[in-house]
């Protein structure tokens, strides 16, 4: 029987096996996340095909500047995350902690901007559900409602993933302070990084799909 110390779980023979298992598990998990979002994207495609004019109209009520800033924020957080993973593998604890805080900060900024946008939509009566008063021209009502439904749904599920991701990062920071994230345990940082990048990747699609449907200025309908 192999020697087992604290970092090697009982079922494994060596760290290589443990690490391969953990990384594969994370990827397989991400595939399930892919499919989960895939269902939502399918709904998006179907309704965009069905209501092209309303999707263009709805998109014109989005704040492209804020959307772009948020994309920038998220891409930057992916960079800090990638660097954090690197810091963990080279066992640079100070750097790791710094970069994790940076990622948390950027993630929070993203959520803050998102919350502001939600609030704005709420004020402008662009919330078609939960019994809210919904303002839209009658002939575009159904299509616009569908657009906003999808918008809130997809960005909402995405934001939920962000929140989980930030929670994960906080756990990592605590563990990093305790010095537990180097050596064989750096796989934890690596896997959390995969998750964070995945959430970023979803946003990369959400951004053009909701903010950039149609040319600005060009009036439809």
């Amino acid at each position: 029987m192999p020697e087992h110390d604290g970092a090697l779980a009982h079922q494994f023979h060596d760290y290589g096996q443990q690490r391969r298992a953990a990384e594969l598990a994370m990827w397989v998990f991400l595939v399930t996340e892919f499919m989960f979002f895939g269902g939502l994207f399918l709904a998006y495609l179907v309704y965009r095909y069905r209501y092209p004019a309303e999707f263009a109209l709805g998109s014109q009520t989005m704040d492209v500047v804020l959307g772009t800033i948020n994309t920038l924020v998220l891409l930057t957080s992916s960079l800090t995350m990638a660097l954090a993973v690197h810091a963990a593998t080279v066992s640079n604890r100070r750097m790791l902690i710094l970069l994790l805080w940076g990622t948390i900060f950027l993630g929070t900024v993203f959520l803050g901007i998102k919350a502001y946008e939600y609030h704005h939509k709420y004020v402008k009566h662009h919330v078609p559900f939960a019994g809210q008063e919904f303002h839209a021209e009658p002939e575009h009502r159904l299509g616009l409602a569908t657009f906003y439904n999808l918008y809130f749904l997809m960005t909402g599920v995405h934001a939920l993933h962000m929140i989980i991701g930030i929670g994960l990062m906080l756990v990592l920071v605590v563990a990093a302070y305790r010095g537990g994230l180097t050596g064989p345990r750096s796989i934890v940082v690596h896997n959390s990084g995969l998750y964070w990048h995945f959430v970023d990747l979803v946003w990369v699609y959400l951004f053009p799909f909701f903010y950039l449907v149609a040319a600005r200025g060009g009036g439809h309908g």
Binding site: E139, H140, L142
Partner: protein, 327 residues
């Protein structure tokens, strides 16, 4: 209705014997396959039971050849079935030209039919023998499904969208009509009868009933009530709205450069969501009538608009499309 014990349902439509033929073929294939496998299993199981004195030396059997044989064999069989069934499936889906059109509105838990002459009936459906009948269906609430086993036809009835079903009855009598899509508490009681009559009797039946207005007449009334004519015809704002004469069955050019066939679905959409497909050369001025007209009302309006294009409405928009060779 025939209440005797039987193993096969009655064949009362032109398509029924064709479906049954395929069904019998499938039974044949299945029987041959299952009997073959059952026979082999039982034969081997007895012959090679543990302890029996038989030769068990594993010769060089043609391993790959066998695998290939039982991949290719079933493949050929299923492709035969596929093409046979595909042909019939299209025949089931496409009504022949000149089919008589009946409107149907389904709701929890009843069927409402309206004949071209305006007669309406609930849960019963009278149809003439030997005449293709096409039913245009829509639901007011959940999904239902119109099912007439003796005709071997079934089609889901959707809220918000037309679907059609067609058949040609070949045998006088009464048959079951079911709702086949689960739709709530009284799903199993959403039932009725199809009554197939000789054409002359059908005429008599139509005449003998207190005749309601034919759908296009009722539609005309609605048309006036909703003041559609203030824009679409006559004086007023005429010219600012697309004309409706000979609209049905024609190909409409839209503002965004695409074209659509003006069929029932298009007309329905244009009434409910006028801006969805704006006709080229016109402004999107028309208000939406979403939620203001009942499904029956919409069907009547469509009948009225169809009556303005006498040529196309005889054969139905789909056939016009087919004739023009569009996909």
């Amino acid at each position: 209705m025939d209440k005797s014990f039987r193993l096969m349902p009655e064949q009362a439509s032109s398509i029924a014997p064709q479906i049954d033929a395929l069904y019998y073929f499938l039974i044949l294939i299945s029987t041959v396959m299952s009997v073959l496998i059952a026979f082999l299993i039982i034969y081997f199981a007895i012959k090679y039971r543990r302890g029996s004195a038989v030769d068990r030396t594993q010769g060089a059997h043609h391993f790959y050849l066998m695998e290939i044989a039982w991949i290719v064999g079933p493949f050929v069989v299923v492709m035969v079935i596929f093409f046979w069934s595909a042909r019939l499936y299209f025949a089931q889906a496409r009504a022949p030209a000149g089919a008589m059109e009946i409107n149907c509105v389904a709701k929890q838990w009843m069927w409402k039919f309206q004949h071209p002459q305006g007669n309406t009936e609930i849960n019963d459906l009278h149809v003439p023998l030997g005449q293709p009948v096409k039913i245009r269906m829509i639901s007011e609430d959940v999904i239902h499904s119109l099912y007439i086993p003796a005709f071997r036809v079934k089609q889901d009835v959707l809220p918000g969208r037309y679907t059609t079903i067609w058949f040609e009855a070949t045998k006088v009598g009464q048959y079951h009509l079911f709702c086949a899509e689960y739709c709530g508490a009284k799903h199993s009681e959403m039932r009725g009868r199809v009554i197939v009559l000789e054409p002359s009797q059908y005429e008599a039946w139509l005449a003998g009933r207190e005749v309601a207005q034919p759908p296009e007449v009722a539609g005309r009334r609605l048309f006036d009530q909703l003041r559609c004519n203030s824009c679409h015809v006559g004086s007023g704002m005429a010219g600012r709205c697309p004309p409706l004469d000979n609209l049905y069955g024609s190909t409409v050019r839209l503002q965004n450069g695409q074209t659509v066939l003006a069929d029932e679905t298009y007309i329905r959409e244009s009434i409910l969501r006028p801006t969805a497909k704006v006709v080229a050369g016109f402004q999107p001025l028309m208000p939406s009538y979403e939620g203001q007209i009942s499904e029956e009302g919409i069907l009547q309006l469509i009948a009225e608009i169809k009556s303005m294009s006498p040529r196309a409405s005889e054969s139905g928009a789909d056939e016009v499309k087919a004739k023009e060779g569009q996909p």
